[in-house]
Assembly symmetry: C2
Homo-oligomer: 187 residues x 2
DNA sequence: GTCTATACATTGATAGAC
DNA sequence: GTCTATCAATGTATAGAC
């Protein structure tokens, strides 16, 4: 059977995209190769034509996800938009929907247990995200701190049971992140 | 065979303690019941005399670990000690040794994917930790924000490959956490 | 390029001996 | 209370047909 040109790249991209969504929701360690392949519309046999193993997929997921995050930050032009993005990150909608949210609160801990190659890919991609954010904020240290603050808050909020407790954690983080931004070069 | 009184409780405690250390290092999902039992010096058969399943152990680990964290914070008496604890949390030693470190950066994401019971136990235990910290800092929102800031920074740092990048993330978080403390009621 | 089929290890969990 | 032995199910990964 013949396939149109670019089909291979497209299939790989689907594995990364859909597999990434599954991993963000269920956890990477808990997602089997069969599952990761199935959500992308194929079987595990086809999976291994694209990746040598699960580890390689994790690196690809992290790279693709952080590229998306970077693009989202790059689109920010005004301080108003920056504060809006902050609120969206620290929202109940984000907490409730990990599969369409940021990769950091869900998979960063698993990257830490991954291969050196995966951590290298993570480091490069995160540096770009931080750079873009630093450009908008005016201070790289503040950008990094705001990022880790938001990531920690969303992850902790997801571990909580009651809506009230989740909202409290998000509100505290929002207040603190805003204070950090004001203390930085941001007007 | 007969066992001295309290043997059962002691065995269970060992399962929670040693199993917790393993889960913090390797991840809970990646740790099998056989492994969790083995590091506590027993087999999986014995494991099920103490817990109905893996989920129950996770709840017990989270409770015990956060009780330890709470006790550590409770021992803080001066502002100097508070800043010292902050530096210790945001240290390379902590980043490099998850098995003897805080449970939050390693297992919070997995708690979020756990049962409602596990999340309930997590919420109660974390509330106590936050309360104790709020008492020392003077503001509960600041206490929560500092906590999530530190947790996020340590988790992200562990995902990075180079020592330089890790140090940069920790330094940014340290600076921001100190600023938050100064802006709060802390002298 | 993707499939089916399968190898082989490990998973969570149970039963029964001691 | 803990052990050994074992289960069915699922894990990662490979081989070969189409």
């Amino acid at each position: 059977m013949r396939y149109p040109p670019g089909h291979r790249a497209e299939t790989r991209a689907r594995l990364v995209r859909e597999g990434g969504a599954l991993a963000k929701r269920e956890g990477f360690a808990r997602s089997g190769v069969d599952d990761l392949a199935r959500v992308a519309g194929m079987t595990s046999g086809a999976f291994y034509r694209h990746f040598a193993g699960k580890d390689e997929l994790l690196a690809a997921i992290v790279e693709a996800e952080l590229a998306t995050t970077r693009a989202r930050f790059a689109a920010i032009e005004t301080n108003e938009q920056l504060l809006f993005a902050l609120d969206a990150y620290l929202s109940m909608t984000h907490v409730r929907n990990p599969e369409i949210g940021c990769v950091l609160p869900t998979l960063a801990a698993e990257v830490g247990r991954g291969s050196a190659e995966t951590r290298g890919a993570f480091e490069r991609a995160l540096a770009e995200v931080t750079d873009v954010l630093a450009e908008k904020i005016g201070d790289r240290a503040v950008a990094s701190a705001v990022l880790t603050q938001c990531v920690g808050a969303v992850m902790i909020a997801r571990g909580l049971e009651s809506e009230a407790a989740r909202r409290a954690v998000l509100a505290s983080a929002r207040k603190s992140a805003r204070a950090l931004l004001l203390a930085g070069n941001l007007a």
